[in-house]
Structures are given as structure tokens and as C-alpha cells.
Amino acid sequence: MIPNESLGTLLAQRGVSRRAFLKFCTAITSLLALPPQAVHAVAAALEKARRPSVIWLSFQECTGCTESLTRSYSPTLETLIFDMISLDYHHTLQAASGTHAEKSREEAMKASFGKYLLVVDGSVPLRDGGIYSTIAGRTNLDILQESAKGAAAIVSVGTCASFGGLPKARPNPSGAVPVSEVIRDKPIVTVPGCPPIPAVITGVLAHYLTFGELPALDRLGRPVSFYGETIHDRCYRRPFYDRGKFAKTFDDEGARAGWCLYELGCKGPTTRNSCATTKWNGGIGFPIEAGHGCLGCSEPDFWDAGSFYTPLAAATVDVTTVAEAAAAIGAGAAVAMSVADEAKRRAARKAHEKMTVKDL
């Protein structure tokens, strides 16, 4: 396919009717949380948009992010958006391998230098010169630095690329870091989640296609339209939280009646993502709907934030031992002080009694 063709022409060639295209635009508009009156503006922009070249790099990752995207049942609107980009390098999905694969990446970089989108999933190991993850004999660090030079923007897909994720979890043996700690001179969008919601990945791409620029981002580089609210904010079990009705175990009466999972360790209140509204598996549901609390997988260092089943109100560290040791030290200090005090008094009394007749 020729990357210079406009999307309108491409879709017409594929036999997508105008009505289908407008429906698609309605879905995109809703996905991007744009005012629904903007459908026709989105349609006009998408029609004229050129397919951007996308280079997808996979580093220290489990391919779950790619699975999330490609396992969405086809043909869906997500895959349609995916068709709208020219995916020039993705070592899990491309047919070419070895030298040819690396060559296609170099060619794509040269052909649209300064214009391509660089998508990264996985973290980058830095320890020992970055030898813990290599592709074609080159370290991830090396490839990332080279590929980032000509990128218009970088999309960090998944928690690993966004915040370091599992590879960065204590004790972080490979010295893993997120993309943002290697590349500092390019705009970076983070799409965290383990894995991220497919619609969110495609939503970012759709936004870039529609407007030719990145969506509004928060402090951590996350698109505000998808990460603006917490799971807790939009949770259908929220009314139970507000009334203090909590499931105490996973199989008690409260759990069966769908009460709030806060006491079972739900991290919904501190997790920003759109699972509660966009949902998973073609809109069937999200973890809380299946009766399990949120793990907070799209938050930085979620793996090191204590047990998944520790409630947010409880301590994540051993406080009991600390308290016992402190009590022992406190008591010891008090006894020592009182002994010293007593000794001083005795000494004083003794000194006092030493007065004898001679002195008088």
C-alpha cells in the first residue's frame, strides 16, 4: 500500500461505504470523548488524513500488549484504525525476519524521517551496558536511541514502556527503565496498562490521525480522555462504597450481592484508567464486574505497591515488628533513666549524710 494515499481513498477502495465510515467516525468521536456534534469534522479530517508510518519496537516485554491489540475480534473498528496506519516494523507481526526485517525498519526511518510514529512496548535494560535484551545483536538502548531520532512522537504502549513495569519491579536485576528515562527530547505519550485496553491504544492513534497531533496529556504523559478519571470514579459498585457496604471475602453474601471490593484490596480509587467505561473483551466487562478488585496495573510501580489483596487503608509494610522493637527500646530507655536517676539520688543522699560531727 502506498503511504501517501488519503484515508478516504483507501477506505473507498476497500469497499467501506460512506454510511459505514460515518458510523466509524461516530465511534471514534465517542472513543475520544469529543462532543458528538464533531462527527462531521472528524469525518472530514480522517478522509483527508495520510497514513502515517509506524515503527513498533518491542523490548523487555511479554507481547501481551500486542496480543491485547491483535486479539480483539476482527473485523472491529480497532483493526480498521490499525489498517489506517502503515505498520512498517513490528517484529511479532511482520512477515520478514532477520536482516530483511532490520532493513525495513531502516528504510521506513529514512523514507519518513521526522514524521513517523515510534511505538514502544517493553522497558529498556540499562545495567551492564544493556546486554540483557538485544535484537539482531544490538541492545534495546541502542535501537531506541537510533529510532527515536527521526520520530515525530513516541507512544509508550503498556506499563513496562510507560513506567518500567514488571522488569523494573524490585530488585530490578536488569536495571530496567521506562522509555521516558532514555529519550528526553521527543513528545512521549504513555498508554499504561498490563495490558492496556485495545481501544485506548487505537484511540491514541486515531487522535493522531484525526488531528495530526498528540492528545492532551497529564503529568505522566497519559491521554487525559482515557486516564482522566479513576476506576473508582466510574465504578458501578461505587454506591456501595459510599454507603460503607463492603464484601469481606470473595464468597460471602456481600460479594455475591456485588458490594464494594475495597476491603479485598481493590486499587480502583488510586488507579486512573477507563476500564470501567470502555471495558474489556468486546465490552463484556472489566475485572471488578467479574468480582475481583482492580490491581492498579496501569499505575507506576504497581507491582511493588504491596499485595494485590492489601486494602488501600492498610499498611503495606511490617509495622508490628517495628512497633515491638520501638516499645522495647522505649521501655529500656525508661528503665535505664530511672536507674541512673536513682543512682544519682542515692549518691546525693550519701553525699548529704556524710556530714559528721567533725564538720560541725
Binding site: R219, T230, H232, D242, R243, G244, F246, Y262, E263, P269, T270, E299, P300, D301, D304, A305, G306, T310, P311, L312, A313, A314, A315, T316, V317, D318, V319, T320, V322, A323, A325, A326, A327, I329, G330, A331, A333, A334, V335, M337, S338, D341, E342, R345
Partner: protein, 219 residues
């Protein structure tokens, strides 16, 4: 918004430090009070110490009839505050979760509505007490920096906790971080100020009663 790592610190290391200072400091001060070197009384006791000691603990809890309006106000507000604080600290379900994770056991919680009322009453009582402290010339003269410090560090956790339970103003993480920080501040300050009365007050009353009992001056 507050960076995530700080939130983790407040829930982890920060909490450990605060608990260590609170427990260590409190045990030290209470033990030091109990072990305080006292001169042996050589006088023959004119009465027992236990009965009057216990009676004093009881008697000091009811001083209402003797008081004027402002005194009564202090008395009622004081009771409301302490009762409200006790209910909120020990019977909010989230607090029981925390205590269970530290103590290893828990107990049933009170409904949210009751806790809300208790928190509002406690905060209102604190405000009344502060206003009284500032407007009453004698109390104002008697108050020093420590009194205002104690008031502030006691009021802050109540206020931030109330905001947290309402999800008011900021996001949950920020509110929880701030709430935990104020609680940790309170824990650190408590053993080393007059807030240590949370443990010493009944012992001190007993001591007063017991001394009087030994001298035979108490009914």
C-alpha cells in the same frame, strides 16, 4: 497531584517511622512516669490508696454542677470531641482494616452515617474549644505554643479524613496521602507533648486520688 513514590513512602517507610516514634516515645514516657524516683513516705497511712485512686478516676469525669456557662461549654465540647474522635478512630471500617494489619485482629465497624456524625461533632467541638481558648482572657494567658500545636495536629487528621471519605476537592490518592501524613505527624507529636495524656490521664488521676487516700483526706 502527588508523585506515586511519595504515596508509597507514606504508606510504607513513613508509617514505620511514625509508629516507631509513637510507640517508643509513649512507652518511654509512661514507663519513666511509673518508675519516677519518689521518696518513700515514712508517714503512717491513714487510709487505703486503691479505693480513693479509682474513685478519683471516676469523680474527675463529672465536674459539671460546679461550673459556670463557659466551663460547662468546655466540659460538653471536651466530651463530644473525645467521644467523636474515639468512634472515628476505632470504628471506621477503613481504620479497622489498618489496625487489623498491624495488630493481627479486628472488630466490627460502625455504619458510615454514625462515623460521619461523630467526625462532624468532634470537629465542631474542636472549633468551639479553640474559640473559647482565644476569647477567654484567662485561658488565652494560660495557652502557649504547645496548646495550639496540639489543637492543629489533632484537627488535621479529622479534617483530611473527612474530605477523603467524601472524595472532596482532590483525587483519592492525594487525599489519602495528605491524610496519612497528618496522622503520621500526630503520631510523632503525641508522645512528646501534652497529647500524651491519652495514656497518662487515668494514671495521673489515680495517683492524685491515691495520695489523698493515703493522707486520709478523701471521702
Amino acid at each position: 497531584m502527588i508523585p506515586e513514590s511519595f504515596f508509597f513512602w507514606v504508606r510504607g517507610t513513613g508509617f514505620q517511622i511514625a509508629v516507631a516514634l509513637f510507640v517508643g516515645g509513649m512507652v518511654f514516657r509512661m514507663a519513666a512516669l511509673a518508675l519516677m524516683a519518689r521518696r518513700k513516705s515514712l508517714a503512717e497511712p491513714r487510709g487505703s490508696e486503691w479505693g480513693p485512686g479509682l474513685r478519683m478516676i471516676w469523680r474527675r469525669s463529672f465536674v459539671l454542677p460546679q461550673l459556670g456557662f463557659r466551663g460547662k461549654l468546655t466540659f460538653v465540647s471536651g466530651y463530644l470531641f473525645h467521644l467523636g474522635l474515639l468512634l472515628v478512630v476505632l470504628f471506621l471500617s477503613q481504620h479497622i482494616l489498618l489496625l487489623r494489619s498491624v495488630l493481627g485482629f479486628g472488630w466490627p465497624s460502625l455504619p458510615r452515617g454514625v462515623i460521619d456524625v461523630a467526625a462532624v461533632l468532634a470537629m465542631a467541638a474542636l472549633v468551639v474549644l479553640l474559640v473559647h481558648r482565644v476569647t477567654d482572657p484567662v485561658k488565652r494567658l494560660l495557652s502557649d505554643f504547645q496548646d495550639y500545636l496540639s489543637w492543629t495536629v489533632t484537627c488535621l487528621p479529622l479534617l483530611t479524613g473527612f474530605l477523603l471519605s467524601r472524595n472532596a476537592g482532590f483525587d483519592y490518592r492525594t487525599l489519602l496521602t495528605v491524610h496519612l501524613l497528618t496522622v503520621e505527624l500526630l503520631l510523632v507529636v503525641m508522645p512528646f507533648t501534652k497529647l500524651a495524656h491519652m495514656f497518662s490521664t487515668f494514671g495521673a488521676r489515680w495517683y492524685n486520688g491515691a495520695i489523698a487516700g493515703l493522707k486520709g483526706v478523701l471521702p
